[in-house]
């Protein structure tokens, strides 16, 4: 058994923390986990990507081999599009937060951000399934952009056949956060779950 | 694809990078790209706006593209000898105190709400200031002999929409710039009273400061003067002393762009004021339009100015000087055209 999950986004979106939570939940559940993280200079507003691999203890590297992602969770649309050719394949599932974070060269007007509808279309046509959600708005409603990663985690673990459940994540949260932070993050998980349920009902 | 230059590329390529900028300040203070610092108009960043104001109001660009322009005195104008009578105006004055008297009067009668003047500098070069109190006007009298981009103060007003009534005191290049602003309807002619200052050239502040330091002037001078020929000296007066520097030693500080200027008296002004050669404590005044005559008359009636006819010798000297400057500039301009610089 192996499940290759890519989490991609922009520095500051909580990508690394999300992968860490998943990893800890996985290990707690008795799975073997290997997570490769790319950060460094890219911490500062650049692309950040985690490769999370749940498996049965075989020899695996920290980089998912070319076009071998089972699930790609995009915290940002452009970053999701960016990894499509290298990691995606026709039966990859995409869970994408549709709120863009504009690169500086787009802000400056040097280059254009591709139209969101276009990104959505390309992802839809070249995947098994696309869940295109508005996690950022939900996060801002909850109290700020910092809950986005938890909302997306809640959505992720609510996908069919995902090896972890929302309860597994909650268990890790209970030893990671305290007080208001804990209750906010628990709510964020539920919001994520509802995003997936609503999405499935709509489509 | 843009096949023409952006405004910024034009003003940078044709004027600033060519060393032809005379630091009038017409392009300064309106946008974040161009600033004035200690004698120089400098580029902070490059701008991509296609048609821009900087290009349209630049007097040097106007000369390069449209030639020397208006003559010094058109029909109906006249030259006079004048001086301010109240002591407060002559105290700080370079010569007859006429400019201070006029500006002060315009402000105190409400005919102008603000005056665009040049301060005395201090930490750095003199700069443009907006003045509304007549008293403040008096403290700013006297020639600077350096360009100070004082029109940046006018731009600060223009940025917030049209000012009501303003008087601008400036060099001939600045008078040309203000007339270009009028042409662009940035400001209506009746809203701006233009007082020109006679000028054959201005020095670049940093170069001048360097030269003065070399000459032993280690303080911010209070007063400069160039006495009439054949003396050929540059007089500097400070707190700690007076210096007489041979004018030729100072000439390297003259702005290169001044050679292109055909205008000695500020032909685009309502009234221009300069020295009266050989007549101490007096100014030569050149009046060009009705508004100018009215002001002069009013000030005479109120006993603020004494006005008389300019002696024939002075007039003929002045006319020769005006003619020479225009001719020199025209030749310079032709040279640039033949070199393909334009």
């Amino acid at each position: 058994m192996i499940l290759n999950l890519v989490i991609t986004g922009v520095g500051g979106q909580g990508n690394v923390l999300a992968s860490q939570i998943l990893g800890r939940a996985g290990v707690k559940k008795g799975l073997s986990v290997t997570i490769g993280e790319t950060f460094g200079l890219s911490q500062r507003g650049g692309p950040v990507m985690s490769h999370v691999r749940f498996h049965d203890g075989r020899v695996v590297g920290p980089i998912i081999p070319p076009n071998m992602a089972d699930i790609i969770m995009g915290l940002e649309p452009l970053e999701t599009l960016r990894v499509l050719p290298e990691l995606g394949r026709p039966d990859t599932l995409y869970l994408v937060n549709k709120r863009p974070i504009y690169p500086l060269n787009v802000i400056a007007g040097d280059v254009a951000y591709p139209p969101l509808e276009g990104i959505k279309e390309i992802l839809q046509e070249n995947s098994r399934k696309l869940l295109w959600v508005d996690g950022t708005t939900k996060s801002m409603e909850l109290g700020g952009a910092i809950f986005l990663n938890t909302i997306m985690l809640g959505a992720l673990v609510s996908l069919d056949n995902f090896p972890l459940t929302i309860e597994d994540i909650e268990e890790i949260f209970r030893v990671t956060f305290k007080g208001e932070r804990l209750s906010q993050n628990l709510s964020a998980l539920q919001i994520g779950r509802e995003l997936v349920l609503e999405y499935d009902q709509e489509s | 694809m843009q096949d023409h230059k952006s405004a910024f590329e034009a003003i940078y390529g044709e004027v600033i990078s060519q060393g032809l900028c005379v630091a009038c300040g017409a392009c300064v203070g309106y946008c974040p790209y161009l600033e004035y610092k200690d004698g120089k108009v400098v580029i902070i960043d490059s701008c991509k706006v296609g048609t821009g104001r900087c290009e349209a109001v630049c007097p040097q660009m106007d000369i390069l593209r449209n030639g020397p322009g208006k003559a010094a005195l058109e029909e109906g104008g006249g030259y006079f000898l004048s001086k301010a009578l109240p002591k407060e105006f002559t105290k700080n004055a370079q010569y007859g105190g006429v400019v201070s008297a006029m500006v002060s009067y315009l402000l105190s009668t409400g005919r102008a709400e603000k005056a665009v003047l040049t301060d005395r500098g201090g930490k750095g070069s003199p700069k443009g200031v907006l003045v509304h109190s007549p008293l403040e006007v008096i403290s700013l009298g006297g020639s600077r002999y350096t360009a100070s981009a004082s029109l940046s103060a006018l731009n600060r007003l223009l940025k917030d929409g049209q000012p009501q009534r303003v008087v601008v005191v400036g060099l001939p290049c600045q008078m040309r710039a203000v007339s270009l602003m009028e042409k662009r309807s940035e400001i209506r002619s009746e809203q701006v009273f233009k007082i020109g200052l006679f000028c054959t050239w201005a020095m670049e502040y940093r170069e001048m400061s360097k030269l003065l330091e070399k000459e032993g002037v280690l303080e911010t001078p209070i007063r400069f003067d160039i006495p009439p020929p054949p003396k050929n000296i540059f007089l500097v007066e400070g707190q700690r002393g007076k210096w007489e520097i041979p004018l030729d030693r100072m000439r390297v500080a003259i702005q290169k762009g001044c050679a292109l200027c055909p205008d000695m008296t500020g032909s685009y002004a309502d009234i221009s004021v300069g020295a009266a050669e050989g007549i101490e404590g007096h100014n030569t005044v050149c009046v060009r339009d009705t508004r100018g005559f009215e002001l002069l008359e009013e000030l005479t009636q109120k006993g603020i100015l004494k006005v008389e006819a300019l002696p024939e010798a002075n007039l003929s000297h002045l006319k020769t000087a005006i003619k020479n400057k225009r001719e020199r500039a025209t030749t310079k301009l032709k040279e640039r055209v033949s070199h393909g610089d334009i």
Binding site: V33, T34, G46, G61, P62, P85, G88, P103 | A7, K37
Partner: protein, 633 residues
């Protein structure tokens, strides 16, 4: 992860590579740790420092890597086990002491961890620090996984004491920042009796015998390498096509052979002790091979070692074809990755790469449509303000001045986010050394002013000698220390100026201004958020001569964010905003480029991105129309 908790003994937990190294050191009874922060090595000392709050061990951030190695060596000379950590560039700094130390030898186990950064993900180069093991004649271990790293560190301490010399453990970014499930061992009681025996001095004399002795130690290490479990052959018994590989490249190779179904044609020799190489194992494995492919990061280090070994035994060895970085079958530069390995193997063995067509089709479809994400300072970053002020001051100055830079977040001054101000970046502190040189060029007719920037941590690390040099030689050097009160780039580690040590104890801060003032330098402090005032002061300082210092002081925005955030809620007054018109030309978004300020193309107005903006308020002072307003939070 609280890896120092004894309840975790013998359990399986998720550990980062660097945490595994730290845990391995703790299990090996390490009692002294020192290092200098640098990606990707920083988390080792951070983890140990956290442990030191509960365990009887000592851990410090030193001012630089050489000092760190020296401090750790004191523990070794006193019979204690110590670990010292750094990134590849840091080993250059430490190397002067290292090549002497390895002549004198050590006593208590001393393990030097270097974390290299193939492809230079967060470095100024992708230097392969493994060569230092040859230079210093000491063993080099290369783990592939966090689990192996934990075991290897423990063995490294043992080996160091066996041979009485330093052992280098080499990680790379990919491993240091990998997280994986790791089975822990048990923590010791950390009881030690430090004692320096005056009868046994440590020095390098007489040199030649000491050098000989160093090689004897190496021979001993080689014996251990032959039998240790870190070098292992996987695959068929034919051994005709053998991949020789180390580190993460081994994992990629293993997975690739598995996925491409090549086990019947290909074998893999995993190398865990890269120096001295396990000679017998290599000769046995490669004796009959006709093809050998080398996969390692970054230089052909093992490749050349193996080739030298094979030529020394050419008689009994079958002639071979070699593939690797030397033969250009693997690119000579850059990190080894699964894609390039699979490309090579699939081409060579005529196999199809899975989803190759899909990949090509999508690549074509997206060509030119995915703009790169430009690096940028965070919203609220004081460096943006400082560079903006420098830019202004140099424009005012008008003598084609430029900035000589250094390493840290502020290296991004080479890009538009720092207005492309920085024109040179090399080693820590080198910007200052360069500037002490520029400052003397005036005498040779050089007319351009130079501003040199360095971070607060860099100031202590390597800038100080250059500053003293500038003072000593009366160089016209203008130094701006970008003091954001943290080693921000690598994760906010404390440094001598912060008043806190790695273990969290309070210490008297070393004053940057104080040091420079005591040397007689003119010193001023500016606030990077006050752009105009800062620019004016920098401009005035540019006109002066001799060595002089400006401290641009503002807390790192990320730290400020954690400590209660910023005062403003920014808004754009749309009536005042000029947008693309003359008088502005999208100045804030086009030039200032803060990620929190975006441009609304339809309205043609600037707009605050509420998700990104932190409310520092700098942008209010750069808007030519005063349209960006500071509201209350």
């Amino acid at each position: 992860m609280e890896i120092y908790r004894r309840e975790l003994d013998n359990s399986k937990v998720l550990l980062q590579g660097n945490e595994a190294i730290a845990r391995g050191a703790l299990e090996a009874n390490v009692v002294f740790g020192a290092g200098y922060p640098g990606n990707p090595s920083s988390e080792i000392i951070e983890t140990l420092a956290e442990a030191a709050k509960s365990l009887p061990i000592y851990v410090e951030w030193s001012t630089n890597e050489k000092v760190a190695l020296e401090a750790a060596t004191a523990a070794s000379f006193s019979g204690l086990r110590s670990i010292v950590t750094m990134k590849q560039n840091g080993l250059n700094v430490a190397s002067d002491f290292l090549t002497n130390l390895t002549l004198s030898g050590t006593k208590g186990g001393l393990v030097l961890v270097t974390c290299d950064d193939p492809s230079g993900i967060s470095s100024t180069n992708e230097e392969d620090a493994r060569w230092f093991s040859r230079l210093a004649d000491v063993p080099l271990l290369e783990p592939s996984t966090p689990q192996e790293a934990l075991h290897m560190v423990k063995d490294a301490f043992w080996l160091s004491e066996q041979i009485q010399n330093v052992v280098i453990l080499r990680s790379i970014s990919r491993l240091s920042h990998t997280r994986a499930d790791v089975k822990l061992g048990t923590l010791p009681d950390f009881r030690v009796r430090p004692y320096f025996d005056p009868k046994v001095p440590f020095h390098t004399f007489p040199i030649v015998p000491k050098h000989q002795r160093r090689h004897e130690k190496l021979r001993k290490a080689k014996e251990w390498a032959e039998a240790c479990p870190y070098n292992e052959y996987f695959g068929n018994t034919e051994k005709d096509f053998v991949i020789v590989s180390s580190g993460c490249a081994f994992l990629y190779a293993y997975e690739a052979v598995e996925d491409l179904g090549l086990w019947d044609q290909v074998g893999i020799l995993k190398i865990g002790v890269s120096y001295p190489l396990p000679e017998r194992l290599i000769l046995d494995t490669l004796k009959s091979a006709s093809k050998v492919l080398f996969l390692e990061d970054v230089d052909p280090f093992i490749e050349e070692g193996v080739m030298a070994l094979l030529s020394a035994h050419a008689n009994g060895v079958k002639p071979k074809e070699f593939f690797g970085r030397n033969s250009s079958h693997i690119p000579v530069a850059g990190e080894t990755n699964p894609y390039l390995i699979r490309r090579f193997l699939s081409d060579y063995f005529g196999k199809d790469l899975a989803y190759g067509e899909f990949r090509n089709r999508i690549q074509k479809l997206l060509e030119g449509k995915v703009p790169p994400r430009e690096f940028g300072f965070c919203p609220g970053c004081p460096h943006r303000g400082t560079y903006y002020a420098i830019k202004k001051a140099l424009a005012w100055d008008h003598r084609e001045g430029f900035v000589s830079g250094d390493i840290g977040c502020y290296t991004m001054g080479i890009w538009p986010t720092g207005f492309n101000m920085v024109k040179s970046v090399h080693a820590m502190g080198s910007g200052v050394g360069l500037s002490s040189g520029y400052g003397k060029l005036k005498e040779l007719g050089f007319g351009q002013p130079v501003v040199t920037v360095c971070g607060d941590s860099t100031f202590f690390h390597a800038a100080l000698p250059a500053i003293v040099n500038a003072k000593f030689n009366n160089s016209d050097m203008l130094l701006i220390v970008l003091d954001n009160s943290a080693t921000a780039m690598t994760g906010f580690q404390p440094h001598p100026g912060t008043g806190k040590t790695a273990m969290g104890s309070i210490t008297e801060p070393v004053s940057i201004e104080g040091i420079c003032r005591s040397m007689g330098m003119e010193v001023e402090v500016i606030d990077p958020y006050e752009i105009e005032e800062s620019a004016q002061l920098i401009y005035e300082f540019l006109q002066k001569s001799g060595p002089r210092l400006i401290v641009a002081r503002r807390k790192c925005a990320l730290v400020q964010g954690r400590e209660g955030g910023f005062p403003f809620r920014m808004r754009v007054n749309e009536e005042r905003c000029r947008g693309e018109e003359c008088g502005c030309g999208r100045y804030c978004t086009r030039v200032f480029r803060c990620p929190g300020l975006v441009y609304e193309n339809k309205k043609k107005k600037a707009m605050i991105d509420e998700v990104i903006c932190v409310g520092c308020g700098i942008c209010a002072s750069i808007c030519p129309m005063g349209a960006v307003e500071r509201g209350e939070r």
